[in-house]
């Protein structure tokens, strides 16, 4: 009998998160895949003082930072790609409410790989020689800082390199395109660092745009880069990454990306955004109504929709996925 790991979003946040935890998310750069609804639910349940591990900033970190839920963060890229600066994150940093430790995008992937392999450190040939190495926001009074990326000697060549510390976040909330009820998952688009993250985190919760029958995974086992045996729970939530993109599923919502980022640029705008787009919906259907059914149709029928074609025959319907979620909670 296969295990059904489907639970509600509210239950996932209740069960696997706490104030002050190291929380990892942010799946694929600021415009792509990310478990943004998990961040919305963290705010709904008023989680505080989070230490965020985001490979790259996303609208999720932008929102959590703007709303004051994150006090420490580590990430590579901290902007919003084509949408400019992340107004909520930059405001929190400039005001000193959030301390951001800077690394590069490769450094974050390597640190997650180090956590996944339980290595004591990872050799660093990037970030060395720059202020990413010498300036440590978490230990501001020591300069040049020898504790962030310490200089070490390559035991073979005798050359100077650096050492990255590994990351082992308490929880990773990972957005995937397709998951089966046991937590086997397929990601369309770049994996970014979700493979490494899923192995580095102490616990993994998946947020899936769609639920598929396990036969789909048996058909494409090479594409299943996150197997169910390392997954605690699966949340069925279409448009998890909205307003960002999920290749094959939906394109970026340009208007909402801009409006959201503009709102997060001020205290007042953030409060309004949280009222209208975080606290306002009761359940999944309410969330989808909030995006707007017309907008959903428009974003879904885009140029990458063909990427989903090979998997369509195994997709569970909305009602079936909701029924499985209800069955697991019963």
């Amino acid at each position: 009998m296969p295990t059904n790991k489907l639970i509600t979003l509210a239950e996932a946040v209740r069960r696997y998160t706490w104030d002050g935890m190291q929380y990892a998310s942010g799946a694929a750069l600021p415009v792509g895949s990310d478990a943004i609804v998990f961040g919305r639910e963290l705010l709904r349940q008023q989680r505080r003082d989070l230490h965020a591990i985001f490979h790259a900033n996303t609208q999720q970190l932008n929102l959590l930072a703007a709303a004051g839920a994150v006090t420490q963060a580590e990430c590579g890229f901290s902007g919003l790609e084509g949408f400019g600066f992340a107004n909520g994150l930059r405001r929190a940093i400039e005001q000193g409410r959030l301390v951001l430790e800077d690394f590069s995008n490769l450094a974050m992937a390597l640190r997650l790989l180090g956590g996944a392999l339980n290595w004591p450190f990872i050799p660093a040939t990037v970030n060395i020689g720059s202020d990413l190495q010498y300036r440590r926001a978490f230990e501001p009074d020591v300069h040049p800082n020898p504790n962030k990326i310490p200089s070490v000697t390559d035991p073979f060549s005798g050359k100077r390199i650096g050492a990255f510390s590994p990351l082992r976040p308490d929880l990773a909330a990972i957005h995937v395109t397709l998951a089966d009820p046991e937590g086997d998952a397929i990601m369309l688009g770049t994996e970014w660092s979700r493979f490494e993250l899923s192995r580095a985190a102490k616990r993994v919760v998946l947020l899936a745009d769609a639920i598929v029958h396990t036969d789909c995974m048996r058909q494409y086992p090479n594409l299943v880069r996150i197997p169910g045996i390392i997954v605690e729970a699966v949340v069925y939530w279409p448009f998890t990454a909205w307003p960002q993109a999920s290749p094959g599923m939906y394109d970026v919502d340009e208007a909402h990306m801009k409006a959201m980022n503009q709102a997060l640029g001020s205290e007042h705008g953030t409060a309004t955004y949280v009222r209208d787009y975080v606290d306002s919906y009761v359940d999944l259907d309410g969330y989808l109504d909030l995006i707007g059914r017309g907008k959903i149709a428009e974003l879904s029928n885009g140029a990458t929709a063909f990427l989903l074609d090979p998997y369509r025959r195994w997709l569970l319907s909305h009602a079936e996925a909701l029924a499985l979620t209800a069955a697991a909670s019963a």
């Binding site: 694929a28 750069l29 600021p30 415009v31 792509g32 490979h55 990430c75 590579g76 890229f77 901290s78 902007g79 790609e81 084509g82 600066f85 992340a86 930059r90 940093i93 400039e94 951001l100 800077d102 590069s104 995008n105 490769l106 450094a107 992937a109 390597l110 040939t125 990037v126 970030n127 060395i128 020689g129 720059s130 202020d131 990413l132 300036r135 440590r136 926001a137 501001p140 009074d141 300069h143 050359k159 100077r160 390199i161 650096g162 369309l188 688009g189 770049t190 994996e191 970014w192 660092s193 979700r194 960002q244 993109a245 999920s246 290749p247 394109d251 970026v252 340009e254 990458t304 990427l307």
Partner: protein, 261 residues
């Protein structure tokens, strides 16, 4: 014949001319991507281009992509892998021939700051910037590992400073052989291409000097917009204007006209 084009278009074309056919190249999201894909559309059809998420084979459709996963780029990829693969196996490894990065500030040794703007120097104790920028992203990895890279930046005094307040992506650090001393694998920046001209490093000191200017700019305007005592190469010359073919190719890539704003 006079052709109308913007300074940003000239910058993108001058950058693209640095890319050679067949090279393994990495382009970040933004205007630098337009320069890279212009090269592919014009004179480097076999350039092996990638983005830092491990999106291979994709060329922008419908204008400048918002990000590496939006439909404008994801629509025609032949392989999606990961950051570890693209930035690690193919760039930090030393394998990538050329990268293009942007800058908020750049200094006389080609060091780039995209982390923040402070009022004055940071000082001994780290403090939050007055204006927080976008951080390192993959640019530091390109700057550390690529065989060579190009810096594309708008030429303004506030951006061209004697010493950047924060080195996000290393150029030649303090000049001379400081890059090798620091243990960096890649060769460093070979050109800073701006809205006014092209700067290249002295082979020994690695200090950037003025190598070329555009027909619409000139030495005096460039010196006035550079925050250090910029040396002018003895053979400084004018850069050829974009050809009609070049402009047509660039505008096919820059479908939404980002470089004409």
């Amino acid at each position: 014949m006079t052709i109308d084009y913007s300074r940003q278009e000239m910058m993108a074309i001058a950058t693209g001319r640095e890319i050679r056919d067949g090279e393994l190249a990495i382009f970040g999201v933004g205007l630098s991507m337009l320069a890279g894909y212009f090269a592919q559309a014009h004179h480097a059809p076999r350039v092996r281009a990638m983005t830092e998420g491990g999106v291979y084979g994709a060329t922008p459709v419908g204008g400048l992509p918002w990000g590496i996963e939006c439909n404008r780029l994801a629509v025609n990829a032949v392989s999606f892998t990961s950051a570890l693969d693209a930035l690690g196996c193919l760039v930090a490894s030393g394998r990538c021939d050329v990268g293009i990065i942007g800058a908020a500030q750049v200094d006389r040794f080609g060091n780039v700051n995209t982390t923040g703007i402070w009022d004055g120097k940071i000082g001994a104790s780290y403090r939050p910037p007055k204006t927080r920028l976008t951080g390192a992203g993959g640019a530091n990895d390109i700057a550390c590992g690529a065989k060579r890279y190009l810096i594309m930046v708008s030429h303004e005094p506030k951006r061209f400073v004697d010493r950047v307040s924060y080195v996000t992506s290393p150029g030649y650090l303090d000049g001379g052989d400081a890059r090798e001393q620091a243990g960096l694998i890649g060769g460093g920046p070979t050109a800073i291409i701006t809205t006014l001209g092209i700067l290249r490093p002295d082979p020994q000191t690695h200090e950037f000097q003025l190598d070329a200017y555009f027909t619409f700019s000139g030495v005096d305007e460039i010196l006035a917009n550079t925050g250090w005592d910029l040396k002018v190469a003895a053979d400084a010359r004018v850069v050829p204007e974009p050809s009609p073919e070049e402009l047509a190719a660039l505008r096919r890539v820059d479908e939404t006209g980002m470089l004409r704003r």
